[in-house]
Amino acid sequence: MDKKYGVYICTGCGIGDALDIERLSKLPQKEYNVEICKTHGFCCGPEGVDLIKKDIEGEGVNAIIVAGCSPRVNQDVFDFGSDKIVERVNLREQVVWCHDLAPVEAGEDAEASEAESALKEGVNLHTQFIAEDYLRMGIVKAQKSELPEPYLLETVSKKILVMGGGISGLTAAIEAANTGYEVTLVEKESSLGGYAAKLRKQIPMSNPFTDLQAPIIQEKIKAVESHPKIEIKTNTVVARIAGEPGDFTVTLKAPGETIEFDVPQLVTQTHDEEGKELTKEQTDELYNELNKGRADILTFDPNGEKFGAVILATGWKPYDASEFENLGFGKYQNVITNVMMEELAANGRITRPSDGKEAKSVVFIQNPNGDDDSDFPFASSVTSLVALKQAKYVREDSSDAKAYVIYQHMRTPGLYENFYKSMQQDDGIFLTKGKVSSITEEGDGSLAVEVDDNLLGEKIRINVDMAVLATGMVPTTKDDAIVNLAYRQGPGFRDIGQFDGYADSNFICFPYETQRTGIYAAGCVRQTLTMADCVEDATGAALKAIQCVESVNRGVAVHPRSGDLTYPDFFFQRCTQCKRCTEECPFGALDDDEKGTPKPNPARCRRCGTCMGACPERIINFADYSIDMIGSMIKAIEGPTEDDYDPVPLRVIVLVGENDAYPAIDMAGMNRLKYSPYVRFIPVRCLGSVNTVWIKDALSSGLDGILLLGCQFGDDYQCHFVKGSELCDRRMENVAETLKSLALEPERVELKQVSITDYDKIPEIINKFVEAIDEVGPNPFKGF
């Protein structure tokens, strides 16, 4: 693309008062030979926009650099079409709103004060320097940007595959089909409905949330069966899903069948019997042995069906209660689980398994008798609500029946509180927080249950006919890949230590999105949910699947960078087959072949740039985000030299994650929080995309320190890209080693975690780092 640059400096919002605009506007011409540089008092107003449009038409400007407010605002105003490159230089939030505007006092810094005299009167020298550096970086960025071209598949399938025929799967199928998409629903059992079809009654789904209601599953089944756009396949499971969103090749099979296109499994063994780490060859051998008779992931099933996106709604399975022998399970016939209770209740009046006698008193136990107050594994608000529901069954069967609920936690979120109240107010339902310390069987099969640490103020014994354990609902993805993806990273979702086997990708921000683009989880496989919540969840997942096929159809990213046209571009001639990109991609987008050459699947990609950060050969780049671009921006920073100043002011670059840290810095500006003028911010898509070469670039061009601001990690990590900042942190450990070998202080590079709400901490983080660098002293490579 032949670029014609135009720089437009906005002087509104206080920018014009704080800076020497005349000097700033001469910079593009002087340093970058950019002829067109105009200023306007109100760039985002109709006149300002017209000014730019006139140049686009009249002068043929197609690379527009707007220096004014943050790129986070006025995106629509400065959108001049997809054939233009627009760069925004943040002079407002990150320069004039957060730095000293008053001139440097002569007594404070005589030299700076003198240098200042060359500027417009009343302008602070350091603030002017920041603005100039940002303008340089903006121009360089525009120079290094290319217009992105969408990644378009040859053929796009918009069909949606729904896995699981329970309440979530049925709902997702109906919602997607009603929107006009072809849906195939697969269910491994011979009939539809799942657990929802095995209930006596349901927890209320609508206002006032007080009474049990009749199951709704039959209506759903009918709707699915009669829908012209839904194809139902019972007794069917997914053998493998290969390819990428919009073009998945899916092989279906009967449960238990063994076929060529069963998905290859990963080798889990890492060490041999003697405890020695397996070599690559040994691992490969094990892999081949394990997957004998199975086609490689890169071999597509010629008879496979094409799908655009997948909704994973395979639900849950009951937790194996056999480990709770201490509560009498497996030992006494009348100790059962909530799932067994539901079955009893669905079949009619509730009777004791031991002798068929009517169960007139039943205790519902919500936690195992452990050392702490934790509930049964995989228990949740749903198991709390189910205990209340089943207590009501007991009361429905007989007016003199008694139901006890012993809990450590009673979770009835939201309007389910009404349900809790309603159940609690039943005369024959008795609730107490407490710990079941023993269960013993009496001669006639009834049970004596002792409850300690309860609300009644003393250890109590209750005599009951039956005990029901509120065991948890285990996501089907806990021990089985289920989705069976023919991906190099393995057939399931990677265990990142956050989700206990649930098919989820982020602890709060992105429901439905799994760690695999195009696979959307809904219902209890994602999180234990009530029916009402499953219905809502499935609807959301259906919308997400639709968003996916439509985005792929237009060749843009689905999420979280929705609409992004760029994708990683590999310069394969220089690839050394190190596989780092394949391994580190948080979304398993890359499948390397036998030699280890990565095969990109851009429709699977979320455009975080983790591969770009990983690549030691630096051959992975995006059209508007590349190794060279950020490196050149770093080099564009004008480091003051000893010729001009003594002592030389520090220069520190801050690589800022776009999702949390960058908005936090903008907010610090909006709140007029001041911080050191020696730092220069460079936004990055994700700290995972930070290539270590940028650290080298910065230090070799004489910058004194590099601060990386990324998302929080830990249990409540906020990363859009799974664990980008954590990954970066690990890479920086290696950088520290390298620095030491170069006799540079490792303190020059530091990573800090910032939440989007941490704007008030920004000045402290920055100033502390600058102080630390000040202590370490200037970069010895300065001036080389």
């Binding site: 003199d400 008795f430 609300l455 003393e458 209750i462």
Partner: protein
């Protein structure tokens, strides 16, 4: 886990009928309790250890009748209703405790059937008809079933001797029944503590017991010091004080009259400006004011969460007291006006009301006089208060 095994285990068996009964007698909100314990924090009277009414609420919700009957704490409650005011669930612990007290009166009653009869609304007419018939019989047998001529002097209708031959033995019998009830209660308190292993085994000699535990309680009652701590229902303090001292005054007057009659042979009516009559009339007035206030308070906005709900036992006692007060005052007014034809029947009605008030004392809400005092003494005795 030696300490663990040493813990006593109580077998609990919820009594569904008891829950129903409690709900019927004013505790209809009891199942709304979610055990947050705001009530125990709000209560100005609850002791620091094992404070009420949180634990009573779950015992009630679980239908644990025995635990509640043997519990002094429900009587330490003066139903200020701070708890009900601050209850986030509208469980009205104040009303529930009142219902529990009704139940406790019934449970400890001796003989039991009297407790049951007084507690049930349907027997109300019977409670008045029986003594009325009895009085008529006495009048007819003694030939007094007419309006005496001349100046209105009530002893003409019913000579003191006749009144007392009925009242005094009845009083002694009722005192005995009341004593049995109180002892039942005391024993259940001691037994419950014994079961918990917190019984006091050393019983001090009686004079010491009186000095240490009974006199301070009497002092507390006379000063209404506990009542005064109530936050949300301060007017109940004034009202109850009126009723209480009204009765105290009338009790003194009655005794003076008795002593005057039997020892000094001075007969009623006394001089209107004499000290006895002044005290009597003063007491009647404060009793009237106190009762009016209580009735007005109870009739006030029922939506106010801090207001007491009122059960049959509340209303029956209040109206009887009101009837006693009004018939007493009217009797005097009519007597002084010389309207014999109204004065004598009014006096008859007054006597009947007084008789009913006292004969049913151990079984009506008025029994709180016995049980609350007992519980307060027990609380002092066990160091709970």
């Amino acid at each position: 886990m030696a300490a663990e095994s040493a813990k006593t285990v109580t077998t609990v068996e919820p009594d569904l009928d008891f829950i129903k009964a409690l709900k019927k007698s004013g505790g209809d909100t009891l199942k709304k309790c979610m055990q947050c314990a705001n009530c125990s924090v709000a209560c100005p009277l609850a002791p620091d250890s094992k404070p009420f009414p949180r634990k009573e609420m779950i015992w009630a919700g679980w239908g644990l009748k025995d635990k509640l009957a043997a519990n002094p704490d429900v009587w330490l409650c003066h139903q200020c209703n701070d708890c009900s005011l601050y209850c986030p669930r509208g469980a009205k612990p104040g009303d529930v405790l009142a219902a529990i007290r009704n139940m406790a009166i019934r449970e400890n009653a001796f003989p039991k059937f009297l407790g049951n009869i007084v507690a049930e609304k349907k027997y109300l007419p019977l409670l008045f008809i029986v003594p009325a018939v009895l009085f008529f019989l006495i009048l007819s047998v003694t030939g007094h079933l007419n309006i005496p001529a001349g100046e209105v002097v009530f002893s003409k209708l019913l000579p003191v001797m006749y009144v007392d031959t009925v009242f005094v033995p009845t009083a002694f019998l009722m005192a005995f029944f009341a004593f049995k009830g109180v002892m039942n209660f005391w024993k259940s308190l001691v037994d419950a503590d014994a079961k918990q292993g917190t019984k006091r085994y050393l019983t001090p000699p009686l004079p010491h017991f009186v000095k240490m535990y009974i006199l301070p309680v009497v002092s507390d009652i006379l000063t209404h010091v506990r009542f005064k701590k109530c936050g949300s229902n301060r007017d109940r303090y004034t009202a109850h004080l009126g009723i209480f001292y009204g009765f105290v005054g009338l009790f003194i007057v009655t005794n003076v009259v008795m002593v005057g009659h039997y020892i000094f042979h001075i007969d009623t009516p006394f001089s209107m400006v004499g000290p006895v009559k002044l005290l009597a009339n003063f007491s009647a007035i404060i009793l009237f004011i106190g009762t009016t206030l209580v009735i007005r308070n109870r009739m006030a906005d029922a939506d106010d969460p801090g207001a007491s709900g009122s059960s049959y036992s509340d209303w029956s006692l209040l109206w009887v007291i009101y009837a006693v007060t009004i018939t007493g005052i009217l009797s005097q007014v009519l007597r002084l006006s010389g309207i014999a034809v109204l004065a004598y029947p009014m006096y008859f009605a007054h006597l009947l009301c007084v008789f009913c008030l006292f004969i049913y004392l151990p079984y009506s809400k008025l029994a709180h006089l016995l049980y609350r005092t007992t519980a307060m003494v027990y609380a002092k005795y066990t160091g709970r208060d």
